[in-house]
């Protein structure tokens, strides 16, 4: 039945994404001191089991995060007809569903009931407040040019020229806010060493596995959506669609992670300052520029 085939496809994509990201990311992070969610399993000491975790909220954290990532994988197109479900409002749905990862971090952080994990919850929510507006503004440029919220339409609108050429500001904004969304350096505050590497410090066994799955796939998702929005998705001359998609995704991931690991780490207060004082005005300027370009007839008709 087609529905089960698509569901299995999404699960396979999740597994593949997490696996490739898990092996690929530390290579790009080679000389960063804080590795964020890519922290190797032995980096923190022996896990101190949370003495009194909330029975429902603590396991609900990684499950919610994983559900968010799974639902978000539904709208990524891998080829001309290879999208699990082409929602008419695909990009908006993607933004909404990736917020569930933050919800998972709050549930897991609060539920573990230790001082450091509640700290994780605070910092993750503050980072949500920081990234959400500039991220929306980074998406809007591509949506305006493609005149549609559907990921398939956005890829089709880049048949002439990729949006990265037409909207370089938007692309740079997406790189920065994508890193903020994925909790990678330089925005690794919720996973820093001084709070026991975030939720990794309070979870063990299957919960730790789910956390790693969810967070690795989150980086893959952010890069994949960046490829869809700005790099033309699966479009490319010689190779088949999915191969181009993988190449673009990992290329974008490499740029983001490598560039991010060169920059000094930012504390949550500075992240908020950066986002609201620098990134949001840049985003608004980008919307103005894209609007002007559309009125002048540049880009897809």
């Amino acid at each position: 039945m087609e529905l089960t085939l698509r569901a299995l496809g999404v699960l396979a994509a999740l597994g593949l994404a997490a696996l490739l990201t898990h092996f690929f990311e530390p290579a790009a992070l080679s000389d960063a001191q804080e590795r964020g969610p890519a922290t190797p399993a032995g980096a923190r000491g022996p896990v101190e089991l949370a003495p009194n975790p909330d029975r429902w909220m603590h396991p609900a954290g990684p499950v919610t995060a994983l559900l968010g990532v799974l639902f978000a994988l539904i709208v990524i197109p891998y080829g001309p007809d290879l999208v699990p479900r082409d929602l008419g409002i695909g990009v908006f749905y993607f933004i909404v569903v990736v917020d569930f990862v933050v919800l998972g971090l709050s549930l897991g952080g609060w539920g573990a009931n230790t001082r450091n994990s509640v700290d994780v919850y605070y910092r993750a929510t503050a980072q949500l407040v920081a990234y959400v507006v500039p991220l929306g503004l980074a998406y809007i440029g591509a949506i305006m040019m493609a005149r549609s919220l559907s990921t398939v339409s956005i890829v089709d609108a880049q048949a002439g020229m990729w949006f990265v050429v037409l909207q370089p500001i938007g692309f740079a904004l997406y790189l920065v806010t994508g890193l903020m969304q994925a909790y990678r350096p330089p925005f690794v505050e919720p996973f820093a060493a001084f709070i026991e590497h975030g939720v990794y410090g309070a979870s063990f066994a299957w919960q730790a596995l789910l956390w790693r799955l969810a967070l690795s796939s989150l980086l893959f998702l952010v890069a994949a959506m960046g490829a869809v929005l700005y790099l033309g998705g699966w479009r490319g001359p010689l190779l088949p669609g999915p191969v181009w998609m993988l190449l673009k995704t990992f290329g974008l991931m490499a740029i983001m992670v490598w560039g991010g690991s060169r920059v000094p780490l930012l504390s949550t207060g500075r992240m908020l300052e950066l986002s609201w004082k620098v990134l949001t005005p840049i985003g608004l300027a980008n919307v103005l520029v894209v609007g002007a370009l559309i009125l002048l007839g540049v880009g897809p008709s």
């Binding site: 909330d54 008419g88 908006f92 001082r115 509640v118 929510t125 503050a126 949550t268 908020l272 300052e273």
Partner: protein, 296 residues
């Protein structure tokens, strides 16, 4: 009943139960964090009902705004309350519903200590309470820590009457004139066209309202001209007991300080008006960066 109809009824019942149970849990549980999570669940239920009613953009909009909004609101609530985890209330006299929704909140001394410690850690960040023990609030040590006011029973009676009355009115009323036409599946496009053409004024007005709301919120919640610890202690006016009045006030010109509480009002007011001060920052960012500075 065909399969599609049964599926629709099934989805409706599940979503309706989630919505109502979420709101009920929000109103009756003893833990503030759980109450926020129940509210989020209720909103997701209502968003599901929106999608079932073919208003999919609106359902997604509801989820996006309320998940993000509720997360931040729970954060504020946790930082401002004495017992966000609800552990201190586990021995209280609760009704059956409240007991059901507060399952799992233990009252072990460890968790209480950890809650106090956690709140103490953040109470110092947020409210400028200095070294105050959060429980020692000038006579409030024995305060009733329940989440609900004493008018709980009247409120319950009122809400049951109101809800019951509305439901009875709905059931006994003659049928509304309903149509069976299916709406246009591209709701985003239709909403966009309407927003840009017919409701442009409302759209712009809403944008202006949001802008003014942001200005107002930032202005009201500014940390003040001197946000470091000592100055903030001076800025936060509390109902401190007045300093004892001397029988013979010293005749010297350097003004002996009047009761501290009164002076702080005028001093902080003056400071706020005259100095430019650092740019207003989000309170969370401030607390976080301040704690970061303390850690490093």
């Amino acid at each position: 009943m065909s399969f599609a109809e049964a599926a629709e009824w099934f989805a409706f019942v599940i979503l309706a139960v989630i919505s109502v149970a979420g709101a009920l849990g929000m109103a009756t549980t003893m833990s503030m964090f759980r109450s926020g999570i129940f509210l989020m669940a209720s909103f997701i239920g209502v968003a599901g009902l929106f999608v079932l009613l073919s208003a999919d953009l609106l359902g997604l909009l509801q989820v996006m705004m309320y998940i993000g909004g509720m997360l931040v609101m729970i954060l504020f609530m946790v930082l401002f309350s004495h017992d966000p985890g609800g552990s201190m209330m586990a021995d209280m006299d609760m009704s059956l519903i409240e007991r059901f929704f507060s399952l799992g909140l233990s009252s072990s001394p460890d968790k209480e200590g950890m809650d106090m410690e956690r709140h103490g850690h953040d109470g110092m960040d947020m409210g400028g309470q200095g070294g105050h023990d959060p429980m020692d609030m000038g006579g409030q040590g024995g305060m009733d820590m329940s989440m609900t006011t004493p008018v709980k029973r009247w409120a319950a009676a009122l809400s049951v009457t109101l809800g019951g009355g509305l439901v009875a009115l709905l059931l006994l009323r003659p049928a509304w004139p309903t149509t069976d036409t299916t709406p246009n599946p591209e709701s985003a496009r239709m909403i966009g066209e309407l927003l840009m053409s017919k409701y442009m004024m409302a759209f712009e007005g809403a944008g202006l309202l949001i802008l003014i709301g942001i200005f107002g919120a930032v202005l009201v919640a500014r940390p003040g001209a001197y946000p470091d610890r000592d100055a903030r202690d001076a800025y936060v006016t509390r109902d401190l007991p007045p300093a004892p009045i001397d029988e013979d006030p010293p005749p010297s010109a350097d003004a002996h300080v009047p009761p501290e509480a009164l002076e702080e009002v005028t001093v902080s007011g003056a400071h706020r008006d005259e100095a430019g001060g650092p740019p207003p920052q989000n309170e969370t960012g401030q607390a976080a960066s301040e704690s970061l500075d303390r850690d490093s």
